[in-house]
């Protein structure tokens, strides 16, 4: 999946920085999105939407500004990251615009465009302001505390659609848990980078399992347990699953202890079973997953998951064409959690596969950056951020296609949801930053051990 040179010593200085490749890919990404927008208009009203030029120019401007920021401050960054993000974001806007046509009273595309703009602005801000990702290491505990606060705050706000993950102030609402996942990834990376040796090689041996000393393992397990408990209280199983997966993957990458993974998976299975049978909201999701068509047999009509499967099936191999499907039958959350069903119906298995491959490429570039970096924090951060994307895609895509029980989560960049888009742009900005660091011709002379020790000392 990743580069074959990964294990080799750092590559020799590169003569090219590949910014030209990035620019031409960006042009393609913007054009594909604009074509998709025009195709929706042609399919629905036999005319290219009048604002197609404006839409194209807007998206093009965002892409251009982002590109300039990268060119200015991260000239050696991976040239695939930004174009893929722009393409996914553009396609998401097309799909949301297409679904807006079915619900004229509830237009989500303009809002999504504003959020995307904000996301790109944050992307630029991060790329410009964060000159060295290792700075983040200093704020490990601050990010941890902030993440916990962000996760706890929504409990004091009313539940929306069964999940207490929203903060609503005025007409403005966002999901703080989305931002929390970046902060947690930063904390995990910093903490594991500082103590991975202690985790891996010290401690007592209990039966065949070598347990690290409580002093090392304690804080991280506490944080993790706390976050899981908070999430179960908020009834947001998807994010809980994501945090757990992130924790396990980063722990494994840092220590290589398969035994812990096994224990972790066992705990997760027990936890999932307990939550699945006790919590009614989650229990119904599991029932749906086991038999998506039960409500049809009971004479209550198809449930959301069944409607989603119908949509995928209607797409077949080549899809119905943009604007010509009926995925709006899914009803509630068609533009957010179930956006992939629209892609599956209108773009077919071919289009869906292309989307999955785009995500896979994004994740692979993140992993590649992780492999090329020399400092453990950068490595773990890259792996963590890429894994967030991978897990998120798997959890929601697997959910809407009936592979795993459905949990509410946003498809990165595609789905309607401001907090999610902004968060994902920040993730891309951080990946740009670490990949620039990994590919820069002159490796920094900083000894990684020094940074790690500094963090240890800060504790």
């Amino acid at each position: 999946m990743t580069a074959s040179t990964a294990g080799a010593p750092p590559p020799a200085p590169r003569p090219t920085n590949r910014r030209g490749v990035e620019l031409s890919l960006l042009v393609c990404a913007v054009l594909i999105s604009v074509f998709g927008y025009a195709a929706v208009g042609l399919a629905r009203s036999d005319a290219v939407p009048p604002d197609v030029a404006g839409y194209g120019a807007g998206l093009g401007m965002l892409a251009l500004v982002a590109h300039l920021a990268v060119r200015l401050r991260a000239p050696y960054a991976d040239p695939l990251l930004l174009p893929i993000a722009v393409l996914l974001n553009g396609l998401g806007l097309v799909l949301i615009y297409r679904l807006d046509l079915e619900t004229p009273r509830d237009e989500a595309a303009p809002t999504q465009l504003i959020w995307s703009t904000l996301g790109v602005a944050l992307f630029i801000a991060v790329v410009l302001a964060l000159r060295d990702h290792r700075v983040l290491q200093r704020y490990a505990y601050l990010s941890m505390v902030t993440a916990l606060v962000l996760m706890i705050v929504p409990i004091f706000f009313p539940a929306v659609n069964g999940a207490k993950i929203w903060i609503r102030i005025g007409g403005f609402s966002f999901q703080p848990g989305e931002f929390a996942k970046i902060l947690l990834a930063v904390f995990f990376a910093a903490y594991l980078a500082a103590s991975h040796n202690a985790l891996a090689y010290t401690g007592r041996k209990v039966w065949r399992l070598q347990l690290p000393t409580g002093r090392v393992l304690g804080p991280i397990v506490t944080i993790w347990l706390l976050s899981v408990v908070v999430l179960v209280l908020e009834r947001d199983l998807g994010t809980s699953l994501l945090f757990f997966g992130l924790f396990v993957i980063m722990l494994y990458v840092a220590t290589g202890r398969t035994g812990w993974i096994a224990v972790g998976l066992l705990l997760a299975a027990v936890g999932a079973f307990a939550v699945g049978s006790l919590e009614p909201h989650v229990h119904s999701r599991v029932e749906d997953w086991l038999d998506p068509y039960a409500s049809i047999e009971a004479g209550q009509g198809p449930g959301q998951l069944a409607q989603s499967l119908f949509a995928f099936a209607a797409g077949g191999m080549l899809g119905t064409g943009l604007g010509l499907g009926h995925s709006i039958l899914i009803g509630f959350a068609a533009k957010s959690d179930f956006i992939l069903a629209t892609a599956g119906e209108e773009l077919g298995l071919v289009g869906l596969t292309a989307l999955f491959l785009l995500y896979a490429l994004l994740v692979a570039r993140g992993y590649r950056a992780g492999l090329s970096l020399r400092d453990p924090f950068g490595r773990l951060l890259a792996i963590g951020l890429a894994s967030i994307l991978a897990l998120q895609v798997f959890v929601i895509a697997g959910g809407v296609t009936g592979l795993i029980p459905l949990t509410g989560m946003a498809m990165p960049f595609l789905a309607q949801g401001g907090s999610s888009v902004v968060t994902n742009w920040v993730i891309i900005a951080l990946l740009i930053r670490v990949s620039d660091f990994a590919r820069a011709p002159v490796p920094d002379a900083v000894e990684t051990g020094v940074i790690a020790a500094a963090v240890e000392a800060e504790r």
């Binding site: 990458v253 995928f312 797409g315 039958l329």
Partner: protein, 487 residues
Amino acid sequence: MIRYIRRAAALCLLLLVALLVNAARIQLFQAEALDSNPANRRQAIVRYEQPRGEIVVDGRPVTGSRDSAEQLRYERTYKDGPLYAPVTGYASQTYGTTLVENAEDDVLSGTDPLLAPFPFWSDLSRGRRPGGDAVTTIRAPMQKAAYRGLAGRRGAVAAIEPSSGKILALVSSPSYDPGVLSGTGAPVADAWARLNAAPEQPMLNRAIRQTYPPGSSFKIVTAAAALDAGVVTDIDAPTGAPDPYLLPGTTRVLPNEVPGCGNASLSYAIRWSCNSVMAHLGVRVGLPGMVEAVGRFGFNDTGLRIPSGVAKSNFDTRMSDDQLALSAIGQFDTAATPLQMAMVAAAVANNGEIAQPHLVERTTTAGGLTVRRWGRRTYRQAMQPSTAGRLQRMMVEAVKDGTGANAAIPGARVGGKTGTAQHGLGNTGTPYAWFIAWAQAEGQAQPAVAVAVVVEDASANRADISGGGSAAPIAREVMEEALRLPR
């Protein structure tokens, strides 16, 4: 750490493969089953996404489509809905389709593969063709005359062109507007409930889906059986039927409405509708002979389609002689659809041959190219041509100087037969007045129309009800329109 990163990457790859395999499972292997799941509304949505093709009467569409802007978008509208309801049926988003709307649904909804310019076109393009049209054989003036003549009374009219089997008029009364069933929602459900609960059963297509005891009009069938079987060789010779006539094996007397039926000839019996003579002849032909003869007319045929299914007209196949005697005059369990009795008249008019009755002449694409054309075919040979000739003479006499005088049309050769059928327990129900007839314009080689009329009139004086009184004028008006039409 590098090794572990690679393993984590492998896990991500595994997740990707799982997603792709699962997507292929849903989108390719389970697609067909999911697409055809009755709870999946896509098929219905696609079906109503385009206007439905039209049903055409006399060159003009009697249907239309209305853009409802709902999910099931185009709703059916009908011009003169009640008039043509027994022909078109309804096409409802909620309750499906009936009659021509049902029989020609593939063409009307655009799924018929023959609508495509090339074979397998629809498989490739995935799209539907615009709905095609169904051109009916109905003639608007005749349909209107029949509907006007029934004037809301319970009854039905069926008219056929004897030589071709074209159904020229098909009227059921009282009728309903099928347009009220188009669409979805509470108004449609209310209309459905109201129409189904109405005591006069407006949605019942009496012309082809309801059977009535045919009464004396059935005597034509019995006469044909007697002539074909050689029981009667000379229609003007006495038949030896006594009056009063005792039903065989009983002491019940079969009454006659008219005098002079004792030992009357077949010709006299048809002209004045003698019960005793025809019952006697039916018994002499015998049960097997009668069953065979009525079968040649289409009785007991469960498979007649025009293209909608026609209810089975009944003649019992196991009876005692007294029951046979009653059955031979269209009583007891004998029951016929109006269309069946029109076929009886058509058989007489067309020298004994019944052309396959049909309602749809051809189907066309939206652009007017013919998709299918109805080819003339023979339904059955009901009787020998010579028998038909003699029956024609007797039916003409019945109109000229007999019970059917009300159907006479100046300048045309008209043959007819009345019928009055009792029904209900102890014959307390309102009698059905029948009239079957055919008409031939002067100078024409063959009769232009055969018609059957049945009227049930609860408000009329019971003594007044007779085929000659209330049914024959309707038949005359329908036949006059038929003769007036350009051929």
